[in-house]
Amino acid sequence: MPPVNEHETPGSSSEKPRHKPSRAPRVAMPQRDASSRRHTFDEVALGYSDDQALAEAMRCLQCKNATCEAGCPVNIRIKDFIGAIIDGDLRAGAEILKERNTLPAVCGRVCPQEEQCEAVCVLAKKGTPVAIGRLERYLGDYDLACEIEHRCVPEVATPTGFRCAVVGSGPAGLACAGELAKLGHEVTVFESLHAPGGVLTYGIPGFRLPKSIVEAEVGLIEEMGVRIECDQVIGRIATIEDLMTAEGYGAVFIGSGAGLPVFLGIPGENMNGVYSANEFLTRVNLMGAHEFPTKSDTPVWRGRKVAVVGAGNVAMDAARTAVRLGADEVFLVYRRTEDEMPARLEEVHHAKEEGVEFKLLCSPVEVLGHDGFVTGIVVTRMELGEPDASGRRAPMCVLGSEFEIDCDTVIIAAGTGANPLLNDAAPDLERNRWGYVVADEDGATNIPGVFAGGDIVTGAATVILAMGAGKTAAHAMDRWLGGS
């Protein structure tokens, strides 16, 4: 890794401030209006224009001690990339960004900046923080829109001769692969689906993260020499041991994610019209079911009245996708209140704007149906008790408060678990009681040369945490290869 100061642009750090910080309010993100976006999968947030980006960048104080950077799981040099926007040197900004983050156009869109960098921005103490995420997206998009020969492809070190395998091409796998490639290793990524990107491709809908952005960012990682092999299910086509012996990989990174959908275990759950959020989103995002039957052969059940169970980002994605598929009514059923919702505020806000109704303090107890098809759900009222282990107030049933809600589709977004295919991929790999891989802070597992990171270690978390884990593991793999 290069020393931190190597790319610093003139005017930063100890020299005199490059600008007089603007006192203007935070520049609002231009977005498609709520009524028109109910019918399109086009992106909602439109991105800053040059003027808007500059105006927002000018709000940055360019603090001597940039606290925002400590808030970033991959320690992006935020102060310097914003400085580059102020200086009008977007290319330098993109380079600074890419030095620490392989997928800036993705992270600028889906990171929960309000809990990370923006939460610790000095401006946040007295008002609204600098819109770091939007500026990151601005630079990421700038780079993607450049002519290909002018795009920042991170420099690749002289080939080391070592070969590394990465299982899964989601955020953790891509970050790990990109980092390994930078270090000069030959990297092959194995993806089980027919398209790379993992959750970025099958999970997050196009109106939040356009698939062309994912494709272009993945394309850049391929430019660095990383080979991505789709349609390869590790655990079936080869075990981790096969990769390390017969196929001659010196080290393996497992970033297979938490892909197994969790169901509620309530009666009627296997009725037609009950989907896991994973299935519903995969049909639309990966298979293009919203364009059935003209442009895609994969159908999806288009409900008129859709109940989404859960209140995380995935639940919001599912609800907003159902809106776009033409549902008359979409409501979210959540057993706690809005304060406890795990989804990003922005997503909750967007969902409400698009007409998603929130049924709070409600928990489903049964799915009703006729002739095998869903006709409604029974929910019970809940009340909040004392805080539980997660620090959130535990919901408790109000006895005798059950009531029915009419619906023809139920989408369960109650979380995911570890995929059992991992058992077949590496039977000896140490796992915890939830089935997640046990790894140390470097991502090392109990099997020498096998590393893991992302949701398969932590359980469902964020894109950036997975990327951070992939990157850390890449450096540990590099050390391991060097030491062997």
Partner: protein
């Protein structure tokens, strides 16, 4: 690093149209994002694996066999496992069972019935063309060891599974009787291949008596049970047939394995479309199956779940036949 074969350029195509619509301060000039990679060592990834069709054969008017080059899969596949196939880049992922394979020659074969758009498209593809995707081997292999005397029942296109399963069971030292069933003689498949399996007895049943004996597969299955001639049964075919096979073997208490065919999307345990209730518990057909204890399967639920997209399938077929012009 091994470069791609001479002259095989990968074209990196970023969807310029799509970028134009999402990057507002537009710096995209149409066309410039298209690039031929001229420097294979650094910039060009190997051409994606293509699944070239190496064999096609019509087994009946509606049932076809296809073989594709897939050396990695061919090395790993075991009887009872399945693959996901996608014909084109806009295609569906459909699960099909392996009917045959050769690790030495690097191919796998599967059998499909022409029922909807995807299978129609497949039936129109010829040797030398390629499938967009072939993923496998998926699912757990059929348990074949130490079963003793086994009846393998294959109904209709289920014979495609019965054949490799019977072969593997016989090879594992079991005493195997295959019962093949179909509506008419024209719809019977693989009877010659199964008849040729060493040490395997074959009974054929047709609804109209046009081949073998007239009647349902459950008749000989019941006889075998009554004669106490079998220790285990394996059934694969339409859900209704499997259900009645299980009803037949339940009373005499002959353990019965069934190979289920629920709807799937990814086939790797990610979506849960394939969930089936077995013994009161929800199981995923793709990763825990496709084989389950037939006496514990909730057949009504399975059959109901197979009906979910009937209207959509009809819609897709209509759309396809409008544009395809083959009027099949």
């Amino acid at each position: 690093m091994v470069g791609p074969p001479e002259g095989a350029f990968r074209v990196t195509v970023y969807q310029a149209d799509a970028l134009v619509s999402i990057v507002p301060p537009l710096r995209v000039r149409m066309g410039i994002l298209f690039r031929y990679s001229a420097s294979p060592e650094l910039l060009c990834r190997e051409v994606a694996p293509l699944f070239r069709i190496v064999h096609t054969r019509a087994l009946s008017d509606a049932v076809f066999e296809m073989g594709v080059e897939a050396p990695r899969i061919a090395r790993k596949v075991k009887a009872g496992q399945f693959l996901m196939v996608r014909t084109t880049t806009h295609g569906e992922r459909i699960p099909l069972t392996f009917s045959d394979w050769s690790a030495e020659e690097g191919w796998v074969r599967f059998i499909f019935m022409r029922v909807g758009k995807t299978t129609h498209e497949l039936s129109h593809m010829a040797v030398g063309e390629s499938l967009a995707d072939v993923v496998g081997p998926l699912g757990m292999p059929t348990h074949v060891d130490g079963l003793g005397r086994v009846a393998v029942v294959g109904g209709g296109v289920g014979a495609a599974v019965a054949y490799p399963v019977a072969r593997a069971m016989a090879a594992a030292g079991n005493d195997v009787t295959v019962i093949l069933g179909a509506r008419t003689a024209d719809l019977l498949i693989l009877q010659d291949e199964i008849a040729a399996l060493p040490g395997v007895r074959l009974r054929i049943m047709t609804d109209d008596g046009s081949a073998g004996d007239k009647g349902l597969v459950t008749t000989p299955l019941k006889e075998l049970c009554e004669q106490e001639a079998i220790d285990h049964a394996f059934a694969v075919g339409p859900a209704i047939m499997m259900k009645f096979c299980c009803a037949t073997t339940a009373e005499p208490g002959v353990p019965t394995t069934v190979s289920l065919n629920p709807i799937m999307v990814d086939g790797t345990g990610m979506c849960g479309a394939c969930r089936v209730t077995v013994g009161g518990k929800t199981r995923f057909g793709c990763v825990e199956g496709p084989d389950f204890d037939g006496h514990a399967v909730d057949w009504e639920e399975l059959m109901s779940r197979q009906r979910i997209y009937v209207d959509e399938e009809r819609e897709a077929d209509a759309e396809f036949f409008r544009s395809c012009g083959c009027h099949l």
